[in-house]
Symmetry: C2
Amino acid sequence: MTTDTRSQILERNFLAVRLHGFQGVRADKVVAEMGITKGALYHYFPSKLDLGYAIVDEIIAPAYTSTWRILETIRKEHLETLLQITEGFKKRTDSEQIRLGCPLNNLMQEMSPLDEGFRIRLENIVKSMAHSIETGLRNGQETGTIQSGTNPRQLAFFTLSCIEGSYGIAKSAQSKEVFDASINQLMIFLKTLKIK
Amino acid sequence: MTTDTRSQILERNFLAVRLHGFQGVRADKVVAEMGITKGALYHYFPSKLDLGYAIVDEIIAPAYTSTWRILETIRKEHLETLLQITEGFKKRTDSEQIRLGCPLNNLMQEMSPLDEGFRIRLENIVKSMAHSIETGLRNGQETGTIQSGTNPRQLAFFTLSCIEGSYGIAKSAQSKEVFDASINQLMIFLKTLKIK
DNA sequence: ATTTTTACATACCAATTGGTATGCGCATAT
DNA sequence: ATATGCGCATACCAATTGGTATGTAAAAAT
């Protein structure tokens, strides 16, 4: 089926980007391992850059924004939900993922200064996540369950910085323990924001 | 002078790595802009990889480890010093550096999974910084000025995660404001560790 | 039934890559 | 004074890069 080949190309190259970075990916070799050739690759994607954009738009962005979006819709337990999402990172991150790092973080570091198309896309993902967290925190403040003295926007960026930074530090150390330690400390901090 | 050429090659390529990532650097083009040729480059460095290692060993590592080392030697005001160092990141980071990101973070994300020589070197830098922070925090606890309920090692990795993560998030957003917000929040948190 | 389009395969290519082999003037050692 | 080594320049190279031009069998449209 047509969709199948295209989405397989996307998936395989997404994996390759995690392994080698975008610049390090040899897209024709990746598809060769699927048993197809460059012809198919350039049939679906005009260029390597467009392939990269598609990976961000169709794989990375949906996965990341959906993780946090629930914070915008709930009417109570905003902080508890934020903590659950944060804890979720520990559960769903195994040592292999620590080794490869966070796909979003990887691409931001590598591609943001190199290509504006990448940068805008990645920035929008971060903005979307930050907006969800900020909204959740603000709603929590308004329902009187989160301390009002803190700045929701600042806290949102701080939370994301901690999580992405934890991936980064743990990646160099190749240590899930380091990752968990850092996430735990973040959770300890977030709990101090709770009222009652 | 001989030392001059070599260290100029290092400096220029360090800049190029910040701009393009290690894989994106064309070392011969970089030295061409200095007015010299590949001959000089490969006279001083056996390969591009060795050039990369030298950049880490001779430029990045000393700069980073020296920033935190003072925490291991002081006898009082450990938390205040930690806060000063943290605040120092805001002062010495301008918007251009935000755009390019933290050199250590950049290289960790790009090269850690690709090359073990890079990974070990970068890991050792992080270890060294974490050790300095951990020692400072522990000594602060022992002198009774930092809360004893917290885990110094965990806090050390957390602090580094926040700082590196702040660079990463701010880099994608190309926003010094985002960087400052995240660092400010870290400082607010660190201040809660103070006794009296 | 014929045309058109889709979904790839094959073959080719210019440019670039990291790297080498060699040359050569100058300083230093002997 | 001559030999040796240092500090580079020049010229060359195989391999790889992202990409294109062309072909073609099967499906879809007319």
